[in-house]
């Protein structure tokens, strides 16, 4: 039984504990950033940010709404990135049969530039990033080292509100359905994003497009 994240955005306060804890656990260096008129920083996922809280704000019928989207790899059931990489370098991208974690290995370094681009373009969620220093492709690891020792991924461990949930797929799918039913009352457009295809299921209260805004 693969493991699955349920990210309940209706509970997210964008405290960014997940974003920072991810960097700490994975020992990722800090980027030099600047203020560009938004709290979203760094502006996008990058080789040193596997997890990024996206902010998007609107005024709709005089009412302010602010969406938070703790973005990360979806750990697809059938990962297209792996499919692309497999045809060039075996073992560059692997899927842990026990946890379902999709892992970019050091062998991604062996992918040629155009192959890297192809791998990246295969991802429907625009997740993989190339570390131009090492030549390795980077993204969320599901904290597979922790998970295999029965510990929660760092982002989940850190989350104070119940936004980040993690467990066996069947349990997470059941929780997702329960929460969706509860949210439908107040948010008729509430939805699960591609729940059958991914092991990182986002529970959204509105159209997914609203959660992304061009930044900076």
């Amino acid at each position: 039984m693969p493991m699955t994240f349920l990210i309940d955005t209706s509970r997210c306060t964008a405290c960014r504990g997940c974003q920072v804890a991810c960097k700490e656990w994975n020992d990722l260096q800090a980027n030099k950033t600047r203020q560009r008129g938004t709290h979203q920083n760094p502006p996008d996922l990058n080789p040193f940010n596997y997890k990024l809280v996206r902010f998007a704000e609107y005024k709709e019928n005089g009412k302010v709404v602010w969406y938070f989207f703790p973005d990360q790899c979806r750990h697809c059931v059938s990962p297209p990135c792996k499919e692309a990489a497999d045809s060039y370098v075996e073992g560059a991208i692997i899927k842990d049969p026990k946890t379902g974690a999709v892992i970019f290995t050091e062998r991604t370094r062996l992918l040629k530039p155009e192959q890297v681009e192809e791998v990246i373009s295969y991802c429907p969620y625009n997740i993989p990033r190339l570390d131009t220093g090492t030549g390795i492709l980077a993204k969320c690891t599901m904290c597979n080292d922790r998970v295999k020792r029965n510990m929660l991924p760092m982002c989940v461990k850190t989350c104070p509100t119940g936004t980040m949930n993690f467990g066996e797929r069947s349990k997470m799918v059941a929780l997702a359905k329960k929460r969706l039913a509860e949210l439908k009352k107040d948010y008729p457009n509430a939805q699960l994003q591609d729940p059958d295809d991914v092991n990182t299921i986002f529970l959204l209260t509105e159209d997914p497009k609203k959660y992304f805004q061009k930044v900076g």
């Binding site: 509970r11 997210c12 306060t13 964008a14 405290c15 960014r16 504990g17 974003q19 920072v20 960097k23 700490e24 260096q29 800090a30 980027n31 030099k32 950033t33 600047r34 203020q35 560009r36 008129g37 938004t38 709290h39 920083n41 760094p42 704000e57 609107y58 005024k59 302010v64 709404v65 602010w66 938070f68 104070p160 509100t161 119940g162 509860e182 900076g216």
Partner: protein
């Protein structure tokens, strides 16, 4: 907090006002969301739509500094519509007390104001008493001078129109707020109020909170599960440091600091020990002499004798009428009246108001000792931008501090839970904990006095001072020990044993205790209870999430203060579905009650508000220097020229310093037409000294910004992300414009008023992030506490032509 974090989940309605709880106390939202899951309305009243607002049911923007109009309007609405909890109000609050006939209120001023002294004669606000000295009451609430009717009269002026045009809150939003929160006035419903520095940091700060207390008393929301006045204290230990007298005006355990007018212990006790002649009033502070004597014995040990008042006579005493708080310390420093000093755990040249003045003030010092983790704007003041280090005379000693995780000790959270933490790793290099520094420094000073003597060395030489710092020993002394064999409730303790609780403390010098509130936290029977992590609880306790065996809570492990107000006169819970305590006929179950006396109806009970002299919740509060009832005054800097509620523009007692660097904008000053409010940011801690040096946090919030509405940005020709200049009467700052729908222009008295907001965590010692926002703020403060008015000032904003402080 009167209650605690978990208890927020028990609320039927949550009012978050003067706080950005989700951003500054992220864990609070675990419990807010649990309440919301069960159907609680969550209303956030705040100038800015923040991450808190995003998760609330409703966000209501208001002009900064108009909390009293909004809440005063709610008092009026509750009284007018009979939403208050009548029995609670009559039996447990001072609503029925009769105020003497000299009391009055006229055009913004209470009776007894002396304009020269900028102070009131509070005697004119006293209650009428009977021949025994007990306040006269009219439980029918008909007497024209009973508190209930004075309250009605006070807030009769706070009608929807006036409140709306003063605060900028629409009438529709006001009514939604009033109806929603007013609905918690039913006995089985409760509403909680979560506040923080958004309420305290005003020249009416204490009165903001007083008004919240009045509301909660009217609605019967104090002492109950899911209720209370909940001050969200700063991470990590603001509660603990306040309990142990971080502030100048108190000794540990909230006892007044000695004054020159109280030369002996008897004088102190006479002036500070309340006397009640009502046998039903517990009047807990009548025990104060025991707590003070035990504290003095803790400080002076064997050298504290009956003859020298246990050492009281050796204590330094403050001059009456002199203020020793921040604003005045910096003022005296600026005037060259202070030669040197110690700064630990704070970065005042970044986080105190009016940085330009404070930085110049510190230049006057001969020497400065700073205990810090990192170089800060305070430690490095002598080479700040724009000054010539050769011209600064100050000699600075930087003592490298151990980080929190490099020492063991306790932290007291907002819910008054004392939680022990062990040392995770030894301090690096030469770093030491502050406890070690203080103990060692004073030992050196003591040995200097031993060798060289001095004018009056006794206060230091006679201290019972440890040879080295030991946090466990300190925790034991805080709890307290017996100095002689003593029998308490049939149990005999030996000299040197830990006291079981503050009930065992004595005023005859036979006990020591550093803080009576913490007595019971480290006992012979229970050990160090701050280390407890036991999740067991009874079904009744579990129902409201009390967790009495997890850590320990002051006082006496009582998790919800004033819980005797959660039951009726017979001891039956007013909200049975979330009972806090209940009387079984033999004793109390649930939480630790406010004293073990039986219910009031037995005739052997005590009134629930045991810390008040008369035992009642104070709707009328004659102890505050600036009035017994909260009244709206404009912030000292305001966009208005007239207070819509009275002829008195500002709080008539607000504190200020008056040096050449203390310029203030005039009411309605055309040079500074925009309201500025300042705040923390989730990713940075206070002045940012620690977190700016944490690369992953600086990555997330890298530079000083100013949040403004699209409307204001358009008026000023500013685009999102543009560098801008913000100017006040005292200084200027560069920031990046964050143009956002989350800031709302407000209609105030028929005119559009804009508001901008800035964090205060960016300082020049971190390259290119900007410099202190507090260069804009002013040395003005609340009359009760001296806390500065950081939340409402007047500024102007323009597009910056070139960058000096911010790196592109």
């Amino acid at each position: 907090m009167t209650n605690h974090w978990i208890d927020i989940k028990n609320a039927d309605a949550i009012l978050i006002m003067g706080s950005n709880a989700a951003e500054h106390h992220p864990i609070s939202f675990k419990w807010v969301l649990k309440a919301k899951d069960k159907g609680a309305a969550v209303i956030h009243v705040d100038p800015k739509f923040s991450r808190t607002s995003a998760r609330s049911t409703l966000h209501i923007p208001l002009r900064s500094g108009t909390d009293i109009p909004v809440l005063g309007g709610m008092v009026r609405y509750i009284l007018e519509n009979g939403l208050f909890e009548k029995d609670y109000v009559v039996e447990y609050t001072n609503a029925a007390f009769i105020v003497n006939d000299k009391y009055g209120f006229n055009d913004g001023l209470f009776a007894g104001y002396d304009a020269d002294k900028r102070a009131y004669d509070k005697k004119l606000w006293a209650f009428e008493t009977d021949e025994k000295g007990i306040p006269k009451k009219d439980k029918t609430l008909k007497h024209p001078r009973c508190v209930f009717n004075l309250l009605k009269k006070q807030y009769d002026r706070y009608d929807l129109d006036t409140v709306s045009k003063t605060s900028g809150v629409s009438k529709e939003n006001l009514l939604t707020l009033y109806k929603t929160f007013g609905a918690t006035g039913k006995p089985d419903k409760s509403g909680t109020i979560m506040y923080a520095l958004g309420w305290t940091q005003h020249t009416v700060g204490v009165q903001n909170i007083r008004l919240a207390a009045i509301l909660q008393l009217l609605l019967g929301n104090i002492g109950v599960a899911g209720g209370g006045i909940n001050a969200l204290r700063g991470e990590p230990n603001v509660q603990g440091s306040t309990d142990h007298c971080l502030l100048w005006h108190i000794l540990p355990g909230y006892m007044a600091v000695p004054r020159a007018t109280w030369p002996t212990l008897a004088d102190y006790n006479k002036a500070n020990t309340p006397v009640s002649h009502d046998p039903m009033s517990a009047n807990w502070w009548q025990n104060k002499p025991k707590y003070l004597a035990s504290l003095l014995k803790g400080w002076f040990g064997e050298n504290g004798t009956k003859e020298n008042d246990f050492g009281y006579r050796m204590l330094p005493k403050v001059e009456p009428g002199v203020d020793y708080s921040y604003l005045y310390i910096f003022d005296r420093m600026y005037n060259g009246e202070i030669n040197g000093g110690f700064v630990f755990g704070t970065n005042p040249l970044q986080s105190a108001p009016n940085s330009n003045k404070n930085r110049a003030a510190v230049d006057q010092l001969d020497w400065l000792v700073v205990g810090e983790l990192h170089h800060t704007e305070t430690s490095d003041n002598w080479h700040r931008p724009g000054v010539n280090p050769n011209k600064i005379k100050t000699e600075v000693f930087l003592l490298p501090s151990a980080h929190r995780v490099e020492k063991s000790g306790s932290v007291t959270n907002s819910g008054r839970w004392i939680i022990w933490h062990d040392m995770a790793q030894k301090p690096i290099g030469q770093c030491r904990s502050m406890g070690e520094m203080i103990v060692d420094i004073l030992n050196q000073v003591r040995s200097l006095y031993e060798r060289e003597n001095g004018v009056y060395p006794d206060p230091l030489k006679k201290l019972d001072w440890p040879a080295y710092y030991d946090s466990d020993d300190m925790a034991q002394r805080i709890n307290g020990r017996f100095l002689k064999d003593t029998t308490v409730k049939g149990k005999t303790y030996k000299a040197g044993d830990q006291v079981p609780s503050f009930g065992a403390l004595a005023d005859d010098g036979s006990t020591v205790c550093f803080n009576w509130l913490y007595s019971g936290s480290y006992t012979k029977e229970g050990g160090n209870k701050a280390k407890r992590r036991d999740l067991n609880q009874t079904a009744m306790q579990k129902n409201i999430g009390l967790f009495p065996n997890y850590s320990w809570c002051w006082p006496v492990n009582r998790r919800i203060l004033y819980n005797r107000a959660s039951v009726d006169l017979k001891g039956k819970p007013l909200a049975p579905q979330k009972a806090v305590i209940k009387w079984t006929g033999k004793g109390w179950e649930g939480d630790v009650p406010d004293g073990g006396w039986p219910p009031l109806a037995t005739g052997k009970g005590r009134y629930p508000f045991i810390m008040r002299k008369h035992g009642f919740g104070q709707i009328f509060g004659p102890g505050r220097p600036d009035g017994p009832l909260p009244e709206h005054y404009e912030p000292v800097e305001s966009p208005l020229t007239k207070n819509p509620f009275s002829g008195q523009f500002n709080n008539p007692c607000f504190k200020k310093t008056s040096n050449e660097m203390d310029a203030l904008a005039k009411p309605g000053d055309k040079r500074f037409p925009i309201v500025l409010t300042t705040y923390c940011v989730t990713e940075m801690w206070c002045g940012g000294g620690e977190t700016r040096n944490t690369p992953n946090l600086l990555e997330a919030e890298p530079q000083l910004y100013v949040e403004m509405s699209h409307e204001l940005a358009k008026e000023k020709g500013i685009q999102n992300g543009d560098p801008v200049l913000i100017e006040s009467a005292r200084g200027s700052a560069e920031a990046i414009a964050m143009v956002t729908v989350r800031m709302t222009p407000l209609q105030i008295e028929g005119k559009t008023v804009h508001l901008v907001g800035m964090p205060f965590c960016y300082g020049w010692t971190t390259r290119g992030v900007g410099d202190s926002t507090n260069r804009l703020t002013a040395s003005i403060g609340d009359p009760n506490t001296g806390i500065p008015e950081y939340k409402a000032l007047m500024v102007n904003v323009t597009k910056a032509q070139r960058l000096r402080e911010l790196q592109a």
